[in-house]
Symmetry: C2
């Protein structure tokens, strides 16, 4: 995700076409940005936060000539519409609201847009640094030749930097250490095979693909040393919303005494949500399962259980790795304190 | 699976084309039968046993004119080749060997073929009765409105009758009882979506499809009352080889206190195999995962972990339902005794 045309548009890789086609697209209007987020052209909690923030700027830039009151009403409405594009990841709401807040007190419409542009750029830059910091903290969890199981894609394609769950892998690889990644294909949209396998292979990192259903057998064979996944939202008690299948991996990891780590920026922590039970779970279209590959692979009208995410209770999470360090259970107080400190520090730096 | 053309060929539904196309194919030669079994045109442990037995007959019928010695050498070789088409399910070896043994002492080549034809037909007929008997035993496990999770397809399409894991569902439905089935799609070849959803929907039974990775979330939501799966081989100690993903479901079921049942004919019990560790696990072609739907859904050369089956330790199995009754742990002695009794009874009936 990057600025294009002097920050008048967003330039991003259309992830729905990978691994067959690498095509970059330009987004400007709110409708374009919302379509790209909800159809997963851009996905991954940090990346949709960045795209949402930048999208608020490019969308509003077209309306600088409106009367101030009309402009601000439209700004509020556009921010709400972008936030609603995907409900589960808290980063989207966080980044859009932060961007909007940055422009709030500016004197003119142009100044609002300019301040929001600075803020969205800051979110992008911070995200890059955040990925690296997560990787630096998490890399100590990798022994030499570690075999890491992940889920979906929490890599470079999901962020502005080197990813969250995959960040320690990239850093170990940079240091010349051997590390091996197992990537479940992650049905229905196959972000594991289409994205994780693709980006790791490109980086020269040893990656093996598996059907989601084979993770248990892989663990039983003794081939997994640790699990690292990303997160779309982490509740106050450490419950983690992440791509469907994450919870199954957590239960399997516990049954095999394999540590289960979650890597995510502090913007994914949501102390306002008490537990996973209050996290809204997005339900995807049934046809993503019934005919995700063109032809029907099931009866065309069969009902489908197709949540995009599941909740992994905090008790299954060995540690949460953020850009500000590693949290261990009990998560309750630790998450609240971390968010409070990061927020006040950010405001201090901004002043 | 049925005889065609006066038992000179096998007539079967090509399951690789479902649910889009219903096409029946005729098989006669050993090569045709082996191709159909290894490419999963016919699949499911009982059904490949039947197809293998019938295939031995149709293949050898073309060689009745050979000298006796040459005929018997070819018979041995053909039986071995058919058995090797898929290594994990023990039913295939069991049915082919039983068919061959039936002809062994016959005076002429024609008489060998005739006796084998009678035996293969008997295996088919027994399979039909076996399915119904499994269903009758298993149906008591279903409370009114039970919600059953299965895996892959252990239904009518996998057997000569009403299936194994799905047999109690069909019987409950015949009796006018409501039952609801959850069918994981079962990557890579999607026998859950293509076959289980298709055959249950046709039968008017309430079926919901889910990605394999969503089974944990479904259980956590409290939507599963019991799990029933089939088996490709059951070792002396109760360890179960079944479609990849079965083990994950067993671990998840245990974590949610959900009973986990295996439904299989006694021909699936293999007391000669001490434990799951000695069961050969078939590895499928990597491209079934990398490009199972035509286009590449991953980098074209990425390594893949693609076992067709996994092993569920007997300690996860609440009960094994056979056509001769329900086995409960400890399985060690129970399995040996059951196989011994069924074998001696079969021989008594045959005399």
């Amino acid at each position: 995700v990057r600025w294009a045309e002097n920050a008048a548009s967003i330039d991003l890789l259309d992830q729905t076409l990978l691994p067959v086609t690498e095509r970059r697209i330009l987004l400007t209007t709110a409708d374009e940005v919302i379509e790209a987020i909800s159809s997963l052209r851009v996905r991954g909690a940090p990346a949709i936060g960045i795209a949402g923030a930048m999208g608020l700027v490019t969308a509003m830039a077209g309306f600088a000539g409106l009367p101030r009151e009309r402009f601000h009403a439209l700004l509020a409405e556009t921010a709400d519409r972008i936030v609603a594009a995907r409900p589960t990841a808290v980063n989207l709401a966080w980044a859009v609201r932060r961007t909007r807040a940055a422009g709030e007190t500016a004197a003119s419409n142009d100044a609002v847009i300019e301040r929001m542009r600075v803020e969205a750029t800051r979110i992008l830059d911070e995200d890059r640094a955040m990925c690296r910091a997560i990787g630096e903290h998490a890399v100590i969890l990798l022994a030499p030749e570690s075999r890491v199981l992940t889920q979906c894609n929490a890599g470079a394609l999901a962020t502005g930097g080197i990813g969250t769950a995959l960040a320690p892998i990239y850093i170990a690889h940079e240091r010349g250490e051997r590390v091996r990644v197992f990537a479940p294909e992650t049905r229905p949209l196959l972000q594991g095979s289409r994205l994780t396998a693709w980006e790791l292979e490109r980086a020269g990192i040893d990656v093996t693909l598996l059907p989601d259903s084979a993770a248990g057998a892989l663990m039983a064979n003794g081939e997994v040393d640790l699990v690292i996944v990303g997160a779309d939202r982490i509740a106050a008690n450490g419950d983690v919303a992440n791509k469907i299948g994450t919870y199954s991996l957590a239960v399997l990891a516990a049954a095999h005494n394999i540590p289960f780590y979650v890597a995510a920026p502090t913007s994914t922590l949501d102390p306002a949500t008490a537990s996973g039970a209050s996290i809204p779970i997005e339900i995807r279209a049934a046809d993503e399962v019934r005919r995700g590959f063109g032809a029907f692979t099931s009866p065309p009208d069969v009902p489908v259980f197709a949540p995009a995410f599941d909740i992994t209770p905090g008790r299954f999470v060995t540690a949460i790795i953020t850009e500000r360090g590693i949290l261990r259970p009990p998560y309750e107080g630790a998450i609240a304190r971390l968010v409070e400190t990061s927020e006040s520090e950010r405001q201090r730096v901004a002043r």
